[in-house]
């Protein structure tokens, strides 16, 4: 039974990735604009020089990218290269490939999002659990509403507010970037501290933007679980409050939280992209913003594909952890 659950999740992941790749294949072909022409026109606008044989150049590039073949053939070729992990070349930083650009940016994003998601999930869940526990002090219960309001505000707005007050007015933290300009990434203590200093504001933004979400979810679940017979029976057994709280209450209420963690990855990565672009943090979000500005379509699609892949894989990981937390799932796969 366990195997069929695993199998279902894997099939789902494959479908998600296939859908993503297909969408990313068809979106540009629905578009009236020709990415290569757009790119050359942009270059022409900035340099003031329009090559006379523009159409020939475009045609030769189209042959190079296989854009002159019939659509089904293109789709098959495209799927093949996606399977090989080849996402094409960048138009703005030619001859760099999309993979290279993503490879440079992805570690920053992964670092930022992994750390903040773990912190946010744990702290938010803890706050929500405490807030729904009837014996908690009033100030803990009152904490949730302001956190939820914070979570509702778009993270870019929070980011701009933090930049304005903390970095600009108080001038205690750097405004943008991931390290001081002029520094080259290395593994020295000073560089790592510098990166940490730069990461505080983007991380704080993401934490503030998500902590209320987890607190709200956990509070809602907690309120439900609180009325469950097994919590009441645990109290009838004369168990101390702490034991009831952790082993009966939190332990059960956290299960849907884990499920919603899997569903939240898409939103988290979107928020990450937006926050990065506000802070000029050199992750895939900033790369995406730059690619949009430069009409670098291949990079845009590549990043789209990578984020969807990342979300799919993260969901799979959570799905694989879930049966360890809930013994019921091993038998009835729901």
């Amino acid at each position: 039974m366990k195997l069929s659950y695993l199998f279902r999740r894997l099939v789902f992941l494959v479908i998600v990735i296939w859908t993503a790749a297909t969408l990313l294949f068809f979106i540009p072909r629905l578009s009236p604009v020709n990415p290569i022409r757009e790119r050359f026109l942009a270059i022409a606008r900035s340099t003031g020089y329009l090559p006379t044989d523009l159409n020939t150049i475009i045609a030769s590039f189209e042959t190079k990218f296989g854009l002159d073949k019939p659509l089904p053939q293109q789709y098959v070729d495209y799927m093949r290269s996606v399977l090989r992990g080849d996402l094409g070349v960048s138009l703005m930083s030619y001859p760099k490939t999309v993979n290279q650009l993503i490879g440079e940016a992805l570690p920053w994003t992964l670092g930022l999002l992994t750390v903040t998601t773990i912190i946010t999930f744990l702290v938010g869940t803890a706050i929500g659990a405490l807030a729904s526990w009837p014996k908690s002090p009033q100030w803990v219960k009152g904490m949730v509403t302001p956190l939820i309001v914070l979570a509702a505000i778009p993270p870019q707005v929070l980011g701009l507010l933090l930049i304005y007050f903390v970095a600009f007015k108080l001038n205690i933290l750097p405004m943008t970037g991931a390290f001081d300009p002029g520094d080259l990434p290395n593994l020295s203590i000073t560089f790592i501290l510098d990166v940490a200093r730069h990461a505080i504001l983007p991380s704080l933004t993401l934490v503030l933007a998500y902590i209320g979400f987890w607190a709200l979810g956990m509070r809602g679940m907690g309120v439900t679980v609180q009325g469950e017979d097994y919590v009441l029976f645990a109290e009838h057994k004369g168990l101390p409050q702490n034991r009831v709280f952790y082993a009966y209450y939190v332990r059960n209420a956290i299960l849907p939280q884990v499920t919603s963690l899997a569903l939240a990855f898409g939103g988290i990565i979107s928020a990450g992209v937006l926050v990065e672009s506000v802070f000029g943090f050199p992750g895939i979000g900033s790369t995406l913003t730059a690619a949009i500005a430069a009409n670098d379509y291949f990079v845009i699609y590549g990043i789209g594909f990578i984020t969807i892949l990342a979300v799919g894989v993260s969901m799979l990981v959570v799905d694989l952890i879930y049966p360890l937390l809930d013994p019921r799932i091993r038998y009835d796969r729901k």
Binding site: E228, Y230, F233, E235, K237, G238, R251, D326, P327, R328
Partner: protein, 354 residues
Amino acid sequence: MTTTTGMPVLQVSDLRVTYYTDAGRTRAVDGVNLTLYAGERLGLVGESGCGKSTMALALMRMIKPPGRIETGSVLVGPAGDQVDTLKLTEQQMLQARLSRIAYIPQGAMNSLNPVMKIQSQMIDAMRAHNVKGDHDELVRRAEVALESVELRRTVMRMYPHELSGGMKQRVCIAISILLSPKVIIADEPTSALDVVVQRQVMETICRVQEKLGAAVILIGHDMGLMAQITNRVAVMYAGKLVELSTVREMFTNPLHPYAQALISSLPNLENKGVFQSIPGLAPSLLRLPNGCTFHPRCKYAMDVCKTLAPPQSVTPSGRYVFCHLYDREGNRVQQPAVAGNGNAPHQKVPVAEN
């Protein structure tokens, strides 16, 4: 004297529970007095919402806000080892639960933690009560408890979802007798089970109770079950115990008009196919009528019933009843007359025979 034997193990006096809601105050348990003797089984019956379950919770001291236990005392334990649970500290009360007074829950299907093995849930309870012994000893003790409710030892290593409803309820019973309490409250312990399993589970409860010499309060509205299982029956109406009698007296000669109505609503062989209902609806606890709370539905209602709450009458045999129809010794003082408060007498509604 009553037919019960043994010494008192539970003495409840003047227990009052109030719920403070937006719409007003609600007396869910209103001045209950009750004594329970070792080895006896008391049935507590009444319509839904009459305060039976609230009373059970109050005895466990598990009333939560907006509810509050206002007054009263609940003496638990045999003479010489008595404590008033309402006077214990929070910490002492935790210890008293399960070791002095245990509770078998209503929702058997859902009373066990779905993510913990049965074994852990049993050991949890023992650890909380500082039961001496290493892990193996606690495991053995849990096994003994499971065997005493006719469950195999292998159940220990299972999760609740691997057990049937009846097995889960047996596990709950096993947990509740782990520390040999003198009082066991069973709140509709068989309501979610099918009829055959119901019977087996009830027999199990009776057997472990006899072994422990404990007293059982059985809450429910299955009068047939009560007739078979219990020694005495208490009838609750709108937060008050309106009558308390031995099971024989209750079924042959109920005193309180509400008890009479409950008994005559039972189907029996003579009036098979005829269903008797109690006229009117149970009152909302928020808007209780003045005087005797039952008077709007009572066919004997007199003027005094509308203004004055009836005092307690105790018969020489130890039954007690709250009704203006009886004097302080429980003798009938008023001729039964269909009262003129506009209510129809008992209606007879034919129901289809099976």
